[in-house]
């Protein structure tokens, strides 16, 4: 397996909440990425954002890891939760916060601030 594949896998498996998106939280480049980010922020999730736009290989390797064809992709505690539609649906029903608590513990809101992982930098 190549290095980028392993790095993406590492982010998915080790970050409490990973959001693979178009753009960054400061400069979102796509409506669906924005919807997913907002739903996660509203739920108080400690988001680690990865911008997939700088290199097409990021998206290729991500889809190889997840088997999910579209962007954004949200992972909580290593589990693929889905794209913007699913995250919004789970947020509306209260299941998103339930899942965050279940996977990360009841104190997840105060665990850590939002951050960006530049997957290309070793």
């Amino acid at each position: 397996m190549n290095e980028l594949h392993e790095r993406i896998k590492g982010i998915v498996e080790n970050e409490p909440v990973a959001l693979f998106m178009k753009g960054t939280p400061e400069f979102v480049m796509c409506g669906n990425s924005d919807r997913a980010l907002r739903a996660l922020r509203d739920a108080g999730a400690p988001v680690t954002a990865v911008n997939i736009l700088p290199d097409p290989r990021i998206r290729q390797e991500l889809s190889a890891v997840s088997g999910w064809p579209t962007i954004p992709q949200v992972f909580i505690g290593g589990e693929l939760v889905g794209g913007a539609d699913i995250v919004e649906e789970l947020a509306a029903s209260g299941e998103l916060e339930q899942k965050l608590e279940e996977k990360l513990g009841p104190e997840y809101r105060s665990s850590r601030a939002e951050r960006v992982d530049d997957v290309l930098t070793v």
Binding site: G31, G67, P69, T70, L80, G82, D85, I86, E89
Partner: protein
């Protein structure tokens, strides 16, 4: 730029979900690349949302794979 007709997506979904009690594909912008799929099928019963959406992606693998779909919104339900 190449676009995909709304009817093409509807046909693919109809083949994959012949039992669907609700099936609609809306071209959200009229540009043939932003779509909203709404689908109710017994195939979704007992499945998580991720598994339900995977079935939709599987049915639309070809237009998704060749890059003609820019944005796909999905709303799935098991039979009421």
């Amino acid at each position: 730029m190449e676009t995909v007709a709304r009817e093409t997506l509807e046909d693919l979904l109809r083949q994959a979900f012949p039992d669907a009690s609700e099936l609609s594909v809306v071209d959200r912008t009229g540009g043939g690349d932003h779509f909203q799929v709404t689908l109710t099928s017994s195939r979704f019963e007992g499945l998580s949302l991720v598994e339900q959406h995977r079935l939709v992606y599987d049915a639309l693998a070809e237009p998704l794979g060749n890059g003609t779909i820019h944005e796909l919104r999905i709303k799935t339900k098991g039979r009421e």
